[in-house]
């Protein structure tokens, strides 16, 4: 027991990201519950008491009368259902649906009594003090947890990789961040982040929807809105029947959400990045990839699939000129982060680069990053877990490790302390 430093007290770990909410027991290697963070809801005037059988219907004192959470929440088409996401830019911006989401994960899926388990929650490095205090309040007041701790995802990702000091490159669904971690503490001055993955998605969407000489623009209709389709030859206008009955009841936000999902799926299965930097010939030499959209339209994507990934590392001067608020590329983020760090630390950090986040599973990403970094730092060593679960849920995994350590249990904010000291205890304890 003491040998491994582990002492499990049945703590729960909750990691809330832009795309999914991860929850599970500390000490496990994978989260028990992974549900989308996005949720479907109906605003009050439209409230018609629709009760969906399998999804949770939380009753929150907000205009959102009924919300649909979980695997059959937002992805199921419902008449007039809007889609919301409490997380913007990696940070919780709307706390109203958070209790319902956590309740769904812990209560309805895991069947836990939250008042019996200490709770560890993660936060991005750029989280605000008010946000973490609000989270603590929700946990203590609504879930009655006996103890609570909020830990930084950067630190947790470093822990998941088995490192105390690391430069954590976290590419999520909406944000890419570079966090220097030293001795288990984040160097806040060295933090840099940008909504780069959002730009990638926008770029991919642009590529797909604009017509080229070889193919028409692609309609990103989700399969929920399609009744039937017939197989067609590649690059031919698809023949499918739209579900006309549903089109009228489809809200803009649901349509947007599903279209983004289509784009994300395309990115995950087709898009890539060249390992050694952009090169027209190298891109053309690669094997084109076939992809079929829900409409039945199918085509082979050649070099354009590599243009998408290139946006992670390099922006053309025209694009920079046209858009002054362009998110910084990964190399720019790393440079910025290192510049803020002590010169002595740079070697240490570059020798311990941890690549994590679902976005980093982008085809060819790790190899390209390695090529970019070794160009300026000879002794770069990138730790990128080959296991996709570890990569996607690195933050949760680190939290699972941390909350099952015997030495950690003195750091919990207990209910007693919360009641005695109130909100400031969160800032004092969770450094």
């Amino acid at each position: 027991m003491v040998n491994y430093g582990g002492d499990e007290v049945a703590a729960l770990v909750v990691d809330i990201g832009t795309s999914s909410l991860r929850a599970g027991y500390a000490g496990d290697d994978t989260p028990k519950v992974v549900i989308p963070t996005a949720y479907g809801y109906f605003t009050l005037p439209q409230d018609q008491d629709i009760d969906m059988e399998e999804s949770t219907t939380g009753d929150v004192q907000t205009p959102k009368a009924k919300i649909h959470i979980g695997s059959s929440g937002p992805s199921v088409w419902r008449d007039g259902m809007e889609i919301g996401n409490p997380v913007t830019d990696g940070m919780i911006s709307d706390f109203n649906p958070i209790p319902s989401l956590i309740q769904h994960a812990l209560g309805d899926v895991m069947h836990c009594t939250t008042s019996e388990h200490p709770m560890l929650v993660t936060e991005p490095t750029w989280n605000t003090q008010a946000n973490r205090e609000r989270m603590a309040e929700i946990m203590f007041e609504e879930f009655h947890v006996p103890a609570f701790y909020i830990a930084n995802t950067g630190v947790l990702n470093a822990f998941a990789a088995g490192k105390g000091s690391a430069l954590v490159i976290d590419v999520g669904q909406s944000m890419a961040s570079v966090t220097p971690v030293v001795d288990g503490f984040v160097l806040r001055k060295g933090l840099s982040f940008s909504p780069l993955p959002t730009l990638i998605r926008a770029h991919a969407r642009h590529i797909l929807t604009t017509s080229t000489s070889s193919r028409p623009g692609i309609e990103l209709l989700p399969h929920q809105l399609i009744t039937s389709k017939t197989p067609v030859e590649p690059n031919v206008v698809p023949t499918f029947t739209l579900r006309e009955d549903r089109v009228s009841g489809t809200t803009q936000s649901w349509r947007m959400w599903t279209e983004n999902r289509e784009v994300d799926e395309w990115i995950q299965s087709v898009a890539g990045v060249l390992e050694q930097g952009w090169n027209d010939q190298a891109a053309a030499a690669r094997q084109p990839k076939q992809y079929e959209f829900p409409t039945g339209f199918n085509t082979a994507f050649g070099s354009e699939r590599f243009q998408v990934g290139e946006q992670f590392f390099w922006h053309s001067p025209q694009l920079v000129a046209s858009n002054p608020n362009l998110p910084k590329t990964i190399p720019a983020l790393i440079t910025e982060s290192l510049r803020a760090c002590d010169p002595e630390l740079r070697q240490v950090l570059m020798g311990n680069v941890v690549l994590t986040g679902g976005g980093s599973l982008f085809s060819g990403f790790a190899d390209r990053l390695n090529a970019e970094l070794t160009r300026s730092f000879q002794h770069t060593k990138i730790h990128a877990a080959a296991n996709t679960v570890e990569r996607r849920y690195g933050g949760w995994l680190g939290g699972s490790i941390l909350a099952s350590l015997g030495t950690f249990h003195q750091l919990w904010i207990s209910k007693e302390e919360w009641q005695e000291h109130g909100r400031p205890i969160v800032g004092q304890r969770c450094k």
């Binding site: 049945a10 006996p146 806040r188 002590d342 015997g406 249990h409 003195q410």
Partner: protein
């Protein structure tokens, strides 16, 4: 269902042991049948009855290897207990699974890892007395000490989190400098209970040279900010330097090899030379050994060293002789006269151990004479059989030479004495003077003739006689050339005879 046990028995021609005539008896028999042997199913046993003991033995339950008994005693009890962490100041009770055998009241095992570093504190009084600094206010110093304590002197994090309201921006060196200087001052000025060395050690551990640190960081930065061309150039230079060093080494080695080849032992290089350059050396040796060495003509390669005493006892056959000749093996017969006692036994030895040495009495003279010729006789570079023989001959010749010279000197002296006497007589009577002079001239002339004739044959070059002269020069330079040549004649003629006698003596 219609088939009864009896039917099956008859079908299998199993002898009926139990008569099923009365209804009471079967009940009796069922009692033993319940005690069926292991390994037979109940149904089968009821069919075949107890009359198949051999079969039963085969069907006995296989004895499996015994399961290892780990943990001595099987399962242990675990309990879900609540515990308190002494490292916590509150009353939080968490629950975990522990072995029931562990002590209920034992301290939480992880609490011992909650260590606190010792903090330095100072009073207002001390601050005004020792710690005043125009760059720092007391409040900011207090803040610094608090934050250092909070983050356990992890300076990078302290620097990252350092945020004193309305304070000047501080670099990590500023913070370290202030903290360590305050600590040093406190240690120096506070009463110290333990010994001085500990205090000095502690002070040394708190030493911080800000300028040096800054300089170091600057170097580090400049190292990092090198343009790629510079890095490439530096790498190229480094490779070039390595290449030059390697060339230098190679050149030096080649030079040494060459020196060894050409100059041999006189090159002044370490001993390994001997084996590395055999050919140059043989030439060298041969040239020196020409003196009366008839057998020096044989081009014996000294690469194989023949042992003085061969191991084989059988007499050399024709085939062996050919083999030996081919491989330069020389066999000497073991001494047959001596009995094979332990004391008489001659073990294998290196020829170089039995090198001939001049007689003790004349050894310095021999050394001197040979040194004049530039021969170092005490050590043979390649002590082959021929070389050893040549050396022996050389030494014998030298000894003879010296003996002869001794005689010549004696004769010279006699002549001188006689001459002096003659002079005395001449003073007495002037006649007969002419005669004596003429006589002396003729003898010297004869001697000259002999000298030249013999010189070519044996000595072979002028230098030798020259050197003999110089050996003798210690005796007196006054000797005329005539007398000198006489000496060499005598030496040369005497060589063979002397050597001959010597050899006889030895054997």
């Amino acid at each position: 269902m219609a088939v009864s046990a009896a039917d099956v028995r008859s079908a299998l021609s199993i002898h009926e042991t139990i008569s099923a005539s009365t209804p009471v008896q079967p009940r009796k028999t069922t009692a033993p049948s319940t005690k069926k042997p292991d390994g037979i199913s109940r149904e089968l046993y009821s069919l075949i009855g107890p009359s198949a003991p051999t079969l039963a033995a085969q069907l006995a339950k296989p004895r499996l290897k015994q399961k290892p008994n780990l943990g001595g005693g099987g399962r242990s009890r675990w309990e879900y207990r609540s515990f308190k962490n002494p490292a916590r100041s509150d009353e939080l009770e968490l629950r975990h699974w522990v072995k029931a055998s562990t002590d209920q009241n034992a301290d939480y095992p992880f609490a011992k890892y909650n260590t606190q570093s010792s903090a330095y504190t100072y009073s207002q009084d001390e601050y005004t007395k020792y710690l005043e600094d125009k760059e720092w206010t007391k409040d900011e110093t207090d803040y610094l000490f608090r934050i250092v304590q909070e983050y356990d002197t992890r300076w990078y994090i302290i620097h990252d989190r350092y945020d004193f309201p309305n304070g000047a921006s501080r670099s990590i060196e500023d913070l370290k400098d202030r903290y360590f200087s305050v600590c040093r001052k406190l240690i120096r000025n506070k009463p110290w209970t333990s010994d001085e060395t500990a205090k000095n050690l502690l002070l040394a551990s708190l030493q911080f040279d800000k300028d040096r640190e800054l300089m170091r960081k600057k170097y580090l930065l400049s190292l990092e900010s090198r343009p790629p061309e510079q890095i490439v150039e530096e790498e190229a230079l480094y490779i070039e330097v390595r290449r030059l060093e390697q060339n230098e080494r190679k050149f030096k080695k080649e030079r040494e090899d060459l020196l060894r080849t050409l100059a041999g032992i006189e090159s002044g290089l370490p001993d390994i030379v001997e084996d590395e350059a055999p050919f140059g050396l043989t030439i060298d040796v041969k040239k020196k050994k020409k003196i009366g060495a008839a057998e020096a003509e044989s081009p014996a390669t000294p690469s194989t060293i023949s042992l003085g005493i061969p191991i084989t006892k059988r007499p050399p056959t024709a085939k062996n002789a050919a083999y030996d000749a081919m491989h330069y093996i020389i066999r000497t017969d073991p001494p047959t006269t001596t009995s094979a006692t332990k004391s008489a036994h001659t073990p294998a030895y290196l020829r170089s151990f039995k090198l001939p040495a001049p007689k003790q009495a004349i050894a310095p003279k021999v050394t001197q004479a040979l040194a004049e010729l530039g021969i170092l006789y005490t050590r043979l570079v390649m002590p082959t059989r021929e070389n050893c023989a040549a050396l022996e001959q050389l030494l014998e010749a030298t000894t003879a030479l010296i003996e002869t010279k001794r005689i010549v000197d004696k004769v010279d002296y006699d002549i001188k004495v006689l001459k002096a006497r003659l002079g005395v007589r001449e003073h007495q009577g002037s006649e007969g003077v002419e005669d004596v002079n003429a006589d002396g001239n003729t003898t010297s002339a004869d001697a000259m003739d002999v000298d030249t004739a013999n010189e070519e044959e044996i000595v072979g070059d002028d230098g030798r006689s020259q050197s003999v002269l110089s050996t003798r020069s210690a005796r007196g330079r006054k000797h005329s050339r005539r007398s000198m040549s006489i000496s060499s004649v005598d030496t040369a003629t005497n060589v063979s005879t002397r050597a001959g006698t010597k050899r006889q003596k030895r054997s």
